[in-house]
Symmetry: C2
Subunit: 168 residues, 2 copies
DNA sequence: CAAGATTGATATTTCAATCTTC
DNA sequence: GAAGATTGAAATATCAATCTTG
């Protein structure tokens, strides 16, 4: 960040500027969608969104996964993930086993009960998207949002990796 | 939610669909930006984003605010906000006083030290936006993102109010 | 009784330290 | 020593109950 770009930031990031509005909209949309999903899941006595993330990731991958492979999907720290997995395992939705090739690692697999729960969660989550995303913008507009925001993800994601080690 | 829209959801919300991609992008961008801001604030020994939200809200409003007026800005529960305000007050950045007109309420005001801290936080937050938002899309594109996602906020926000009372 | 705010008990998250294996 | 995962201690967030005032 040079002095010049900093000055630009001062100019463009004033309240009400396009990029400031975009930030508020991103934050608001994220919060609104998460709240709606959590609300509807709770209404059907289903687990929270974080559990969905874990179960969906496990279902999507053919090979057994280790906890570290999930750290990018589930936004928690390493130890937070350990405890999250503890609770999901306690509920019988996943199982832990030992990794034969690298015995430092743990293998995670989804159980039948986990699959059943996941299938119940999918339509709840889907209905929220249907109503608040698909109902509010065309597929083309959604695609635009996706492409523009993926640039942000790429930019900020690269930044973090370039920085120093995390969690450590 | 009719049966028809539910079927549409099944069809359009498949992994890789435009609306599904939009959701992942929203979530990813939000997380990436929050992480970047928190990281940079911590690097300068400044308070977290939640504190910024409180301080910025107090600075922006001329009249003294009560805790309940902040519940929409700061995404915590009522009691979570009480404790958050406890810590910020403990740090000397805000002050609580009694509301003369309605003595159930509490008035919140930002202190001089709070204003100073807020001014130090603004450029940190601004630099993240400059780099990862303004640097990745034009003002027009940012405006598009803002308008499209504000529809989501309006849609999901209306839904929650229409539902039953919250926190209660 | 309802609204605004707080508190006690509890649950979840994080940080730092630890343990095991590479 | 570094990587992967876990654990104890501490911070933070939530739920339900409480207190005070309208």
């Amino acid at each position: 960040m040079t002095q010049v770009t900093n000055d630009i930031a001062q100019a463009t990031m004033a309240p009400g500027s396009p990029h400031d509005s975009a930030w508020r909209a991103i934050r608001g949309a994220h919060q609104a969608l998460v709240d709606a999903i959590e609300h509807d899941l709770a209404a059907e006595s289903l687990p929270a969104l974080a559990w969905f993330d874990v179960l969906a990731k496990l279902e999507s991958e053919p090979a057994p996964l280790r906890p570290k492979d999930m750290l990018c999907q589930v936004s928690v720290t390493k130890s937070g993930l350990t405890r999250l997995l503890d609770r999901i395992e306690e509920a019988g939705l996943i199982a832990r086993s030992y990794c034969p090739s690298d015995r430092r690692g743990t293998f995670l697999t989804i159980t039948d009960e986990g699959r059943q729960t996941l299938e119940k969660m999918k339509p709840v989550r889907g209905r929220v998207f249907e109503e608040h995303l698909a109902g509010q913008m065309s597929p083309a507009e959604a695609e635009t949002v996706g492409e523009l925001l993926d640039r942000v993800v790429a930019s900020a994601g690269a930044e973090l990796e370039a920085g120093h080690a995390f969690d450590a």
